[in-house]
């Protein structure tokens, strides 16, 4: 390993993460920004690693980013994010045979939520539903599926439980990522034919590559440029990009994290 090699931390939420980073590692080296990757089993450990300098760049979920940014008083920089991360949203799904006129109708009913550390399947839905006039924590019976804690919802496992609970009538409604719901719809597994989207949250940002503000600016700029140059029309890298769920990389920014920052504060998750 050369001395100039950057260290990037990511979370191994699925075996494919190795496939993705083996390919991206070669790509980044070819682009003049050699970057090794170090995998952690959970985002809390990854945040610690960025903070203590074990890694230079963290490939963070929105929840991990907000926590990291909070820890250093906002002295972070974002080097890039995926197209999907720019307009992530959460949907609330219900059974088609039990249509919902508005989210307030859910008062007194069962609402299924994904992992409690998932920004999109638990933290943000509670925040946005409150803005719609539904204090779900107080007014609904919450059916939480706290699976894969530490992965911040990356595995999608808790969202599988959410849609199943709604489909099977164990919950009146459930919340999950819009993209995950569309993926379930496309794959037909689990069977979501009987479900429909009754509400969608405003868009917010999801994952990003984060560095501390002390990270060399010129190097950070070069790393971003290399990332943004990744081309989905290049057959040699398309399979890895498909596994990562990205078609184009973007510089990103902090604007789309305000709602999550507020939500985490409200829910006592930023201490």
């Amino acid at each position: 390993m050369s001395g100039a090699e950057l260290r990037l931390g990511a979370v191994s939420y699925h075996p494919r993460v190795v496939t993705v980073w083996e390919r991206f590692r070669t790509y980044l080296a070819d682009r003049g920004v050699p970057t090794d990757y170090i995998l952690y089993s959970n985002y809390e450990r990854l945040v610690e690693a960025v903070l203590d300098g074990s890694v230079d760049i963290g490939w963070n979920t929105n929840t991990a980013f907000v926590r990291l940014d909070h820890e250093v008083g906002g002295r972070t920089r974002i080097l890039g994010m995926r197209d999907v991360d720019l307009d992530w949203s959460t949907v609330l799904v219900t059974r088609k045979d039990r249509p919902l006129d508005g989210v307030r109708e859910l008062a007194g009913r069962v609402l299924a939520l994904g992992s409690r550390d998932s920004g999109h399947a638990a933290i943000l839905p509670l925040h946005y539903l409150a803005q719609e006039g539904l204090d779900a924590a107080a007014q609904c019976v919450l059916l939480r599926f706290d699976t894969d804690i530490g992965k911040h919802g990356d595995t999608g496992d808790s969202e599988l439980h959410v849609v199943r609970a709604v489909a099977e009538g164990k919950a009146d409604a459930g919340v999950l990522s819009a993209v995950y719901f569309s993926a379930f719809r496309a794959e037909g597994v689990p069977d979501v034919a009987a479900l429909e989207v009754s509400w969608r949250s405003p868009p917010y940002y999801h994952c990003n590559f984060t560095v501390l503000d002390s990270f060399d600016r010129e190097l950070g700029e070069r790393w971003s440029q290399a990332l943004l140059a990744m081309d989905y029309n290049d057959e040699s890298i398309r399979p890895a990009m498909d596994l990562e769920g990205v078609r184009t990389w973007h510089p990103g920014g902090e604007a789309g994290y305000e709602s999550l920052r507020s939500a985490m504060r409200e829910q006592g998750l930023l201490t």
């Binding site: 197209d83 993209v179 569309s182």
Partner: protein, 418 residues
């Protein structure tokens, strides 16, 4: 229409279609007509569909960029993504379809223009004829990629015949006729059939080994070798059944085994075609005809007749392929001669067809051990041997070998016949 409105074909009324019930198919087909970066206006009466469209769009590589209430529903603006769904050249415009023959038949020989295919990409995948392959990280290295190494000009027609002449070894042979021979004759038949079945194993394994080495861009060859393998499977089946059908057994001879093993030693397709198709199966044509003519029962005759029909195709392919190889490069002749010589050297210990087989053929033909009848049958078997030799030379000449070379190669051929 104001200046800012999208063109009419960039509008879609989803009516009552929903995602998961066909709307995504309609969206994909409609977006194909929208240039990358262009916006498609989707009108839907369903609030649920409007809410779900952004997730679908992201997953499909597009983006919802606007949404507005409209008469009886919502209009959702979907901007087409800039990335290609399939990494390949665009599909060509509709062209002329392949010609049909009388009765509306579409023949394999007609599915591409005349002449052999141009050398293709040795790393190509399983792209069917005419398909536009997507660029892929998966790469193959086909050993048999150059048409010149494998082609025969009438391979398309041969594939056609192979399909048309399929038969059923369980039902097209009068098996009840195989049960009543006397023990002497039946023992001879069982030995002859065992010999045939043993040889047919090699006739199957040789093309089967080449089959997965052929570049899929030569589909005629893939189909041809598949049919060859299937034919030989049926030959193994029918001769094994005939051997078993009379209740007696024959020997699987070591000399036959030695001869067949040298067929498997040959890894060059063209050399192998000469050894197996032209020399081996060619010689078997005469043997099978002899068995059909002298069969003591209709089951044996039928088995030999049905197999003969297939072997004719195989020999035809071999002659056609070798002739093309020699015509295209005279140096190939020298290589082919060397291959026959090399095999003959390995078979130096074989002095002739096993007496066990010759005796079985003779008894089968005489149907008795009465001296006068045996004498006539023995003459028939001797005559068969000369017929085989004569026809081998004739086939080798048809391949393009000069007469002296043809005689030389015929003499070198395995005394085991296959």
């Amino acid at each position: 229409m104001s200046d800012g409105d999208p063109p009419p074909d960039h509008r879609l009324d989803a009516e009552h279609l929903e995602l998961g019930s066909g709307l995504e198919v309609l969206l994909a087909a409609t977006l194909e007509r929208v240039p990358p970066g262009g916006v498609l206006e989707v009108r839907t009466p369903s609030r649920a569909v409007a809410l779900e469209l952004p997730g679908w769009a992201r997953l499909a590589g597009h983006e919802v960029v606007g949404e507005a209430p409209a008469a009886e529903g919502t209009v959702v603006q979907v901007r087409r993504g800039r990335t290609a769904r399939v990494l390949a050249a665009p599909l060509p415009e509709r062209g002329d379809p392949p010609p049909l023959r009388a009765g509306g038949e579409l023949h394999t020989a007609d599915w591409r223009g005349a002449g052999p295919p141009a050398p293709g990409d040795a790393g190509a995948g399983f792209a069917p004829l005419g398909a536009v392959p997507e660029a892929s990280a998966t790469s193959y290295r086909w050993r048999l990629s150059d048409p010149d190494e494998v082609w025969a000009d009438d391979v398309g027609e041969l594939v056609e015949q192979a399909s048309a002449q399929q038969w059923d070894a369980s039902r097209e042979v009068p098996w009840d006729a195989a049960r009543d021979l006397d023990e002497t004759t039946e023992r001879a038949v069982a030995q002859v059939m065992t010999f045939l079945a043993q040889n047919e194993y090699a006739a199957l394994y040789v093309p089967a080994r080449f089959l997965p080495e052929v570049n899929p861009q030569l589909p005629e060859l893939v189909l041809w070798l598949s049919s060859h393998v299937h034919d030989e499977a049926r030959h193994i089946e029918v001769f094994t059944k005939r051997a078993l059908a009379g209740g007696l057994r024959g020997y699987a001879l070591a000399s036959t085994e030695l001869s067949l093993s040298t067929l498997l030693d040959e890894h060059d397709f063209t050399n192998s075609s000469l050894l197996l198709n032209v020399l081996g199966e060619g010689t078997f044509l005469d043997l099978l005809r002899f068995i059909e003519l002298h069969a003591p029962d209709p089951a044996t005759a039928a088995a030999a007749r049905l197999a003969h029909r297939d072997e004719r195709r195989h020999v035809h392919f071999g002659v056609s392929h070798i002739r093309r190889a020699i015509d295209s490069n005279r140096d190939n002749e020298r290589v082919l001669v060397a291959a026959v010589e090399a095999r003959a050297a390995k078979l130096a210990s074989l002095s002739g067809l096993s007496p066990v087989v010759i005796e079985a053929l003779t008894v089968m033909a005489s149907r008795s051990l009465v001296p006068a009848e045996l004498s006539e049958a023995a003459a028939d078997v001797r005559s068969l041997m000369s017929t085989m030799q004569r026809n081998r030379v004739r086939r080798l000449i048809a391949c393009g070998f000069g007469k002296p070379t043809a005689r030389y190669l015929s003499d070198l051929h395995s005394p085991n016949l296959m």
